[in-house]
Symmetry: C2
Subunit: 454 residues, 2 copies
């Protein structure tokens, strides 16, 4: 709020995304949007309002979303004949069109994405992390074979993984969701789970193989090469404005945001420091610095307000600007600026005529440093246990992930959640082949990550 990323709204559970926060979303749209297009997916737009009967066609789907949907009963001064829901996700309406658009194997694969708003009525909300309305991209693809669809699920999960690591400097663990945590209507759900600095996990992108009952409900069939009628296999996948919450909670500190340079709307801020007798020379030098930053293609601002340097430093820290460039009379005389890294406060003088190379290099260093720090934090806060007693003890005394072999039983998961507030976050892909004795039952289990979750 103080960094002007977001503000509360008069509507319960909704928020206003302010320009500084929205600039981050636009950067995400630009970068992730290109990655998605490069994967052969085309953008489109489907209606906001979906007939309630569509959601009801898939049993698990409506069961999962019924408690969360907002319902339109009146429009244009009249009561509607059929109730409409504001999309909580768009599988149903998109599949109703896929049924029209897909006739033969030649129409496959069909890969569609939309950037839009969705509404899920949440009981407890927190700006970015959980809001009744949020923005997202939702991808929906249809394929001729299950194998192709499964490859798509993984391709997208990897795109998400590359995106959050490379651009958001976030570290996340890729894995499968357990039965009780999967998407309502999915065969299975893959996810990236990222550990925030308060020790809670945030789902940072999901990619689902949808259950065939969906396409059967909407009759999405095609003629295969042998002229045989078959149902398509579908996937869906999404990243939402929640990821901005992740960005805040994974990197931020008590002084405010810490933004990774690649996604930061402002990568460097110049803070001129002068008294009236040397203002002219300092500002002349600032102009030189600005020119070099423009040449370097760095997104920068100069803080020309009347505030004190101390206030300006604090404000730049609050906004998480990766590099602060202090320019005082001594710096000007020395033809250099003092670069201060937001992530760790370290300082280094940079000569103005090397800024074009050195500042971009410094930003790259910071980007790598932030990712390494996030990864280290996750490793440092992952504890293995092999008994429920150990589990409970760790849950009480530590934060972060608890790693244990688990049989995946839904009732047990519920018990664990009730007793410890920990839920299964994912069964990591990396160790998926391994089996061990379930910490609850002793039966065969997969290595599973648990955590408190947002």
């Amino acid at each position: 709020m103080r960094a002007k990323m977001a503000d509360y709204s008069p509507v319960r559970g909704s928020m206003v995304i302010m320009p500084y926060g929205y600039a981050i979303w636009e950067k995400i749209q630009e970068v992730l949007g290109k990655m998605i297009k490069d994967a052969g997916v085309k953008n489109a737009y489907f209606p906001l309002l979906i007939p309630l009967s569509f959601l009801q066609k898939e049993a698990e789907h409506i069961e999962g979303f019924a408690p969360e949907v907002a319902i339109v009963t009146h429009a244009g001064d009249k009561e509607l004949e059929e109730k409409l829901v504001i999309r909580p996700t768009s599988e149903t309406i998109i599949y109703s069109k896929f049924a029209d658009w897909i006739q033969s194997y030649r129409d496959l694969p069909l890969k569609i994405n939309q950037w839009c708003n969705v509404v899920r009525w949440e009981k407890r909300t927190t700006p970015f992390l959980r809001t009744s309305e949020f923005l997202w991209q939702e991808g929906h693809t249809a394929h001729a074979t299950k194998q192709e669809a499964e490859e798509e699920v993984m391709q997208i999960l990897n795109i998400y993984g590359d995106f959050i690591e490379e651009h958001l400097a976030m570290y996340g663990v890729k894995g499968y969701k357990t039965e009780s945590e999967k998407f309502a209507g999915a065969d299975y759900t893959t996810t990236i789970e990222a550990l925030m600095r308060d020790g809670k996990a945030l789902q940072s992108g999901t990619s689902h193989l949808l259950s065939q009952s969906f396409v059967k409900s909407f009759d999405v069939k095609f003629l295969d090469k042998d002229g045989k009628e078959q149902y398509v296999w579908t996937t869906s996948w999404a990243v939402s404005t929640r990821i901005i919450g992740g960005l805040i909670m994974m990197h931020g500190d008590d002084k405010g945001l810490v933004l990774p340079p690649k996604i930061a709307p402002v990568q460097a801020i110049i803070v001129p420091i002068y008294k009236s007798e040397n203002q002219a020379e300092v500002m002349e030098f600032v102009a030189k610095v600005e020119k070099q930053l423009a040449i370097a293609g760095v997104r920068f601002e100069t803080d020309n307000t009347d505030n004190s340097p101390g206030y300006k430093f604090a404000d730049a820290e609050l906004r998480g600007i990766p590099v602060r460039l202090e320019v005082g009379p001594k710096d000007a005389a020395d033809n250099s600026v003092m670069a201060v890294k937001r992530v760790d406060g370290t300082k280094s003088a940079i000569k103005v005529d090397t800024l074009v190379d050195e500042l971009p290099a410094l930003l790259e260093t910071i980007q790598a440093q932030m990712l390494a720090r996030a990864k280290q934090f996750t490793q440092d806060n992952t504890n293995s246990v092999s008994s429920y007693d150990d589990f409970k003890q760790v849950a009480e005394s530590k934060i972060g992930f608890i790693e244990a072999y688990f049989c995946g039983d839904t009732a047990l998961e519920k018990q664990i959640q009730e007793e410890t507030k920990y839920t299964s976050r994912c069964v990591p892909l990396e160790t998926f082949a391994k089996e061990g004795k379930c910490f609850m039952t002793g039966a065969p289990g997969k290595l599973t990550l648990f955590a408190k979750a947002y």
Copy 2:
């Protein structure tokens, strides 16, 4: 529909924007979005759902929008305490935040824009031109003085004008709306009215000076330089997906779309023409052509389907691709391609080694030609009248704009509409200073354009 720009949706009055149509919207967002940002406006995002009571705070506003709003009465399995409307436009919710964000003259001007969806429950709908849900950008600015706000209104109207002329090759007339056609809650509304090829007018961008009753309802005040409390002056302005309807209806012909090169998702399509005995040499040459187009930065496709050349030509025409490049064995032997302009069907051979220069030049020629044609069409279909008898005769026998001095009386406008289906479209800026005798009353009037409207 046949060009796969849009499809009907299962929800009455909504449409699906298909990838080919959405690509145009993305291009509009890219180009117009940059123009808006360059004017010092920042993007943000405000909630979809607005308390009904907010709309009711401004009397004219609720009167104008009440018959069109969709109302959410239930959410999260419960009846809501206060009904929410899906935004038909966002003045009210934005002003409720402006009241928080604006304290002193230092916070002004405040210029915000959002790209989003809105819902207005329409009785009769047509894809793109009038749909219950549409996408748009809505800009909202607050200023210290009326003069500044009025300058903003005009600056944006000029941006819209430049945008539609330069990028969409659309010709429109800028002017003021009469009392009966202005935005519900505006002091006055400016508009760009463009004549479609069927003779109907389409509102192609509007920019409003809002009435002060709005800011008074939401208590948007600031302390001026003298420490005196004052209400701000506000503007709002929008361009929507309707403009894509305009693009279709202004340029299209019986063969399909005709897209201006600057906004066309595909600017050139290569159609290889061969028999089995010369396929190899033609395709080798096509590869050379593709390389040149890539170097030239032209957005192109090659039609590699099994369809006949005739089918491919018709398909390219349907989709309105500005230039078709036919490549047959004779062309390959001659090291040239046959370029066919969609707009008029004229052909010219271009040597492959001059494509890098000549194709972009050809696209520019087409862009200019389309704008000139649109302007000419508007001039050719604007008829001046000085009596209501003349008016009625022209209305019956001709299409397009009718130009007449008019006193602006709301009751008379209603009568004209009932008797002729013509409504006032705008009082053009260019001739705003002129006065003449009203064609209905003989009283002093302004030169006013009438037309049937979408």
